[in-house]
Amino acid sequence: MTLLQLPDGLFRAYKAAYGEAPSAAIVRVLKRDLMQKLWLLLVDDDFMKAYKHGVLVECGDGIVRRLFPRILSYLADYPEK
């Protein structure tokens, strides 16, 4: 099982700021924070506009449809573990 690793630079920055390495609990918080902030970047204004008003797309069958994206499921490992 692979784990999401925070970059070494972050650990160095932490040590520079506080004089000690982050605890396991802090590392968990930071990993969760990373995923949450990444999702804020992914679900951007374009996505939210399409979520509300749809977006016209000429689909692979040549028919134009107005698509309304919905994330029905999100299956993920706990990156903070």
């Binding site: 506080y18 902030k37 951007d44 749809g54 698509l67 919905r70």
Partner: protein, 332 residues
């Protein structure tokens, strides 16, 4: 959960198939996405004899975006002269065969090797003297590390996330006043570009845009009025999807749309897990990827369909781009 929703005012039943299974639509689809699908489309065991796949649906680099296949095409054009990054035509064609999208080399694949490589007059045995597959793969990796598969034309951009560093029992006036660290080298695509690319793809001709209730007829000569049995198999015959679709149809339409423009839910299944990273041999990136639930799971889960569309990669150990060859191996 309601087992047998009463037929809606405008419901439409399809002809039952030989198992008595039929679909009940409240919105009539513009065509049947399952038309023309045969057993071959669902079963692709390497020992099966089957018709060759549609090459338009078979591009292994497609999950990374539409520009990459073009890039490979132009690289092939360049390769006509230089065969870059490989040394000569023979090595290039052999490596191309290795990465042509099917992970199991079937009889048909072997035939392609014979027809398209070994019997071609440009193929020269002496070109392969001293050829090491390992070294040629390395060449491919270096090529992808230099330019990288994350092309901006496919909506790939390098992003960064700033984390504020907390410490127990240390107070800051605000979160922004706490020491921070910015994680760079996050590769991500515009979600809407991923969605549009997926729906423009020829495979989208097989999408069930219109959800339906699936039934099996139980009527017999002895009991002609036996109620049908509701079946469940896919997102697009689930009640939640039917409800979302009906709610959408009840919403006011955009005034600029022609009356025949279909309004449909684009159901997305998003994954982020490291389990597949083990296949890479190097756990350097943490992926987020997306499947379209409108495509039947029997096709979606076939590695040869390349139905996963990549949304983002978080650097985990190494900052370097993932070698192209490894991405191809993981693109199912």
């Amino acid at each position: 959960m309601q087992q047998q929703p009463p037929p809606a005012a405008h419901s439409f039943d399809t002809m039952p198939n030989r198992f008595g299974v039929f679909r009940r639509y409240t919105t009539v689809p513009q065509h049947d996405p399952e038309e023309g699908l045969t057993l071959d489309d669902f079963a692709d065991g390497s020992s099966h004899i089957r018709t060759p796949p549609d090459p338009r649906e078979q591009h292994p680099l497609r999950p990374l975006g539409s520009a990459l296949p073009g890039l490979v095409q132009s690289a092939m054009g360049v390769a006509a002269k230089s065969y870059a990054p490989f040394l000569n035509w023979s090595v290039f064609k052999l490596m191309q065969w290795q990465y042509n999208g099917t992970s199991t080399k079937s009889e048909a694949q072997l035939q392609r090797l014979i027809d398209e490589v070994l019997t071609d007059k440009r193929f020269r045995k002496k070109d392969l003297v001293g050829c090491s597959v390992k070294r040629e793969k390395k060449r491919l990796d270096q090529y992808s590390n230099n330019g990288g598969p994350f092309d901006t034309a496919d909506g790939w951009r390098e992003g960064s996330v700033t984390l504020h560093l907390p410490k127990a029992r240390v107070k800051h006036t605000s979160e922004s006043a706490a020491p921070s660290y910015t994680i760079t080298g996050i590769w991500m695509r515009n979600f809407m570009e991923v969605l549009k690319a997926g729906y423009k793809d020829p495979v989208a001709g097989k999408f069930h845009h219109i959800p339906f209730s699936l039934f099996r007829s139980r009527s017999t000569p002895e009991d002609p009025d036996a109620p049908p049995e509701r079946l469940w198999s896919e997102v697009y015959n689930a009640n939640a999807m039917l409800r979302e679709h009906d709610e959408l149809q009840a919403q006011p339409r955009q005034p600029e749309d022609a009356p025949d423009v279909e309004y449909v839910i684009a159901p997305l299944l998003v994954y982020s897990d490291s389990t597949r990273l083990a296949n890479f041999g190097t756990a350097s990136l943490w992926p987020i990827y997306n499947f379209f639930a409108s495509l039947t799971k029997y096709l979606r889960l076939k590695p040869s369909m390349f139905a996963a569309h990549h949304l983002a990669y978080i650097p985990s150990v190494s900052r370097r781009g993932l070698p192209l060859a490894l991405l191809v191996a993981n693109s199912s």
